[in-house]
């Protein structure tokens, strides 16, 4: 069934303004056993949700601009002052003060290190990544955390150096706009829409 006029959302004066359709109803159908006895029914549903990135929005926006943002505790009184986080943390997990945004793009371009990885052919509904998926969890010098992402070129190995690539053409504004390739990968080998 094709879906027409799929819902879109804007924010105006601090409120959501929606247009189009957010839910599509379909008829249910009976579930019967071998003897024809009624057991239950199907419940079809197609719903579009509205979701805010809140204070993390700059991170997701920046991917489309080929930038990788992290954050840093800037509270000199904090026990873990200066700790750098990616995933981007809006507040320091220790002192709860608002973190300072920092640009990790150059650090990442010098090469991040694969801490661990996995390769799988299995996915769940709504997956858009090409199979097999190669997850890589990458460490950066001087960063407290280990970011999860996916490798778009080559085979992952622990300790290998990787660099970020960004889907700047037709971005999805999701974490999928960030991917990783082995250091030294040729620009011609990047997937469609991605650049360094």
């Amino acid at each position: 069934m094709t879906v027409e006029n799929r819902g879109t959302v804007k924010v105006e004066n601090g409120r959501y303004r929606v247009s189009g359709n957010f839910s599509y109803g379909y008829p249910n159908s009976p579930i019967r056993d071998e003897s024809g006895k009624l057991v239950g029914i199907t419940n079809p549903a197609d719903i579009t949700h509205i979701h805010t990135y809140g204070g993390e929005a700059p991170f997701f926006e920046s991917l489309s601009k080929q930038k990788l943002l992290g954050t840093k505790c800037a509270n000199p009184k904090c026990e873990t002052y200066g700790s750098v986080y990616i995933p981007y943390r809006i507040h320091c997990p220790d002192c709860l003060m608002r973190c300072e945004e920092i640009d990790l793009t150059e650090l990442a371009r010098k090469g991040a290190t694969v801490h661990t990885f996995m390769i799988t052919e299995r996915t769940g509904a709504f997956n858009t990544l090409k199979k097999p998926i190669r997850f890589v969890n990458v460490e950066f010098d001087g960063v407290s955390t280990i970011l999860m992402g996916y490798l778009s070129v080559g085979e992952p190995k622990m300790g290998m150096k990787v660099v970020p690539i960004f889907q700047a053409k037709n971005p999805t504004y999701t974490i999928l706009d960030l991917s990783w390739v082995p250091m030294g990968t040729d620009a011609a080998d990047l997937p469609e829409g991605f650049s360094f």
Binding site: I31, D33, V39, G40, N43, A45, H51, Y53, E56, F60, E79, T80, S83, Y85, P87, R89, P93, D94, H115, T116, F117, M118, I119, T120, E121, R122, T123, G124, A125, F126, N127, T128, L129, I133, F135, N137, S144, T145, I146, L147, M148, G149, Y150, M158, T174, I175, L176
Partner: protein
């Protein structure tokens, strides 16, 4: 946090002792189209009542508040399903509350129920857990489970929770397993054991008589995990009744002391920060000084290889129950074998073996009912129910099923609950000709670990026969 204050490390001191009075469970299966969840819950409740020779009405008279564990609302698209259950059990207008902590939901439900009795709010409580994972096909089910990972930072990556887990498995496999074929076989042995024990359990969904080779040849899910290394997706319910001392002895002659604790860690593994290993009573800081030397890449704690939540839950529970060395002080365990490799990781987190040496628990044969190397009883049998790999993982029910199982061993009534021909028939299952009694003879103390996802929540429940209490250390 990566450092703990004295206040945070306090061993819980409950106002009252709490006792396990009885427990019960339904049949577990991948799909149970002929029954609504309410019917499965009633099956579990009836078994619990019958276990102490009470009618449901007699048992209900004692219940004062109710704790309901059910994780994934999406599957049945019924919010407030707890209210439906509460009504069908005829327990309105008593207070009830729903509890959800992913895979640890069952354990967390007991944790809440336990505190309600310990505080004096209620003399008797019901902790009931269930899950219904058959209301969408597997593909959609994978997506729903993946939505228990971080929605923005993880779920879009494949919509496959196993993948978020497999990166940890891969790290453990390379660092602590050193990618040895012998380690891979040890992992497979766990699956063979648990699927095999499930054959003796009429409730179990996936009883199988298999070999290590069968596991090694099963389809790859995410290297090094194969299909037979992974837990089940299930439908079913289980429950326990907890009470204070006076009421417990009114209801039964042999209630068991219960202690439950909880720990947590970051939802995203990504957010784990490097820290010192918190020590259990049977460990010293010195023993881990050269961990990174013995296992190159293993010096970051908990890194992607340990479960801090499990360690913290064990730390609190051992303190509460007076356990110093789980291998010496416990007689059996039920662990959260979501994957064979996470089972090994847990042995280390809860101090059965030190970090880096989890495999030895299996390789020594001590995790078996009967040690295959010596022919003698295993020192600390694990997952005689079949665990999550052989019995079930009906999420909200899992942690409760484990406690019912270990309770039946301490009560010396395991065979009674698993051999009954009528039960096998009622569940439409065939009792194997070589059915074996897995009762742990003389069991006095046992532990159950309930665990969520990549380690976001873990609870530890210790059952102790009242004649065999250990002294709580100051």
């Amino acid at each position: 946090m990566i450092k703990f204050s004295k206040q945070q490390l306090k061993i819980p001191q409950m106002s009252k002792d709490v006792y396990l009075v009885t427990g019960g469970m339904s049949k577990f299966d991948r799909a149970i189209p002929e029954k609504r969840t309410e019917e499965l819950v009633i099956d579990a409740f009836l078994e619990a009542a019958e276990f102490i020779k009470k009618t449901p009405e007699e048992l209900k008279e004692y219940i004062h508040s109710c704790y309901y564990g059910h994780f994934a609302d999406h599957f049945g698209s019924q919010l407030l399903g707890e209210s439906v259950i509460h009504d069908r059990l005829g327990l309105d207008p008593l207070g009830n509350v729903g509890i959800k902590t992913g895979g640890a939901t069952g354990g967390s439900t007991i944790w809440e129920a336990y505190k309600a009795v310990a505080s004096g709010y209620s003399d008797t409580v019901l902790a009931m857990g269930w899950e219904r994972m058959d209301e969408v096909p597997t593909d959609e089910g994978n997506n729903y489970i993946a939505s228990a990972a971080d929605k923005d930072w993880e779920t879009p990556l494949g919509h496959i929770y196993t993948g978020y887990y497999a990166v940890m498995a891969q790290k453990y496999w390379q660092v602590f397993g050193k990618q040895e074929a012998s380690f891979r076989r040890t992992l497979a042995e766990i699956a063979v054991k648990n699927k095999g024990y499930a054959r003796m359990n009429p409730h179990a969904q996936s009883p199988m008589k298999i070999t290590v080779e069968d596991v090694l040849n099963s389809p790859i899910v995410a290297d090094p995990l194969r299909a037979l290394d992974c837990c089940l997706m299930s439908v079913g319910a289980s429950c326990v009744i907890l009470a204070d001392k006076k009421t417990a002895y009114e209801l039964t002659d042999n209630p068991l002391l219960i202690y439950t604790s909880a720990g947590t860690h970051t939802l995203r593994v990504a957010d784990r920060r490097d820290m010192d290993i918190p020590l259990l009573p049977n460990e010293t800081a010195d023993q881990y000084k050269d961990l990174g030397k013995r296992f190159p890449g293993g010096d970051r704690y908990p890194g992607f290889t340990g479960f801090l939540a499990a360690r913290m839950a064990a730390y609190y529970a051992y303190g509460m129950a007076g356990i110093v060395d789980p291998m010496e002080d416990l007689d059996l365990v039920e662990l959260h074998d979501a994957f064979t490799i996470s089972d090994i990781q847990t042995y280390e987190d809860i101090g059965i073996r030190p970090y880096g040496e989890g495999r030895k628990y299996v390789e020594s044969g001590e995790c078996y009912h009967t040690n295959p190397l010596t022919g003698k009883p295993g020192k600390l049998p694990a997952n005689l129910s079949g665990g999550l790999i052989g019995n079930m993982h009906a999420v909200g029910a899992t942690g409760i099923m484990q406690v019912v199982e270990i309770g039946q061993h301490i009560w010396g009534r395991w065979a009674e609950m698993h051999a009954d021909e009528a039960k096998w028939k009622r569940f439409n299952r065939t009792k194997p000709d070589d059915w074996t009694d897995l009762q742990v003879v003389g069991a006095k103390r046992a532990l159950a670990i309930s665990h969520a996802g990549v380690g976001s929540h873990v609870t530890a429940t210790v059952l102790v026969h009242p004649d065999h209490q250990l002294e709580r250390k100051s």
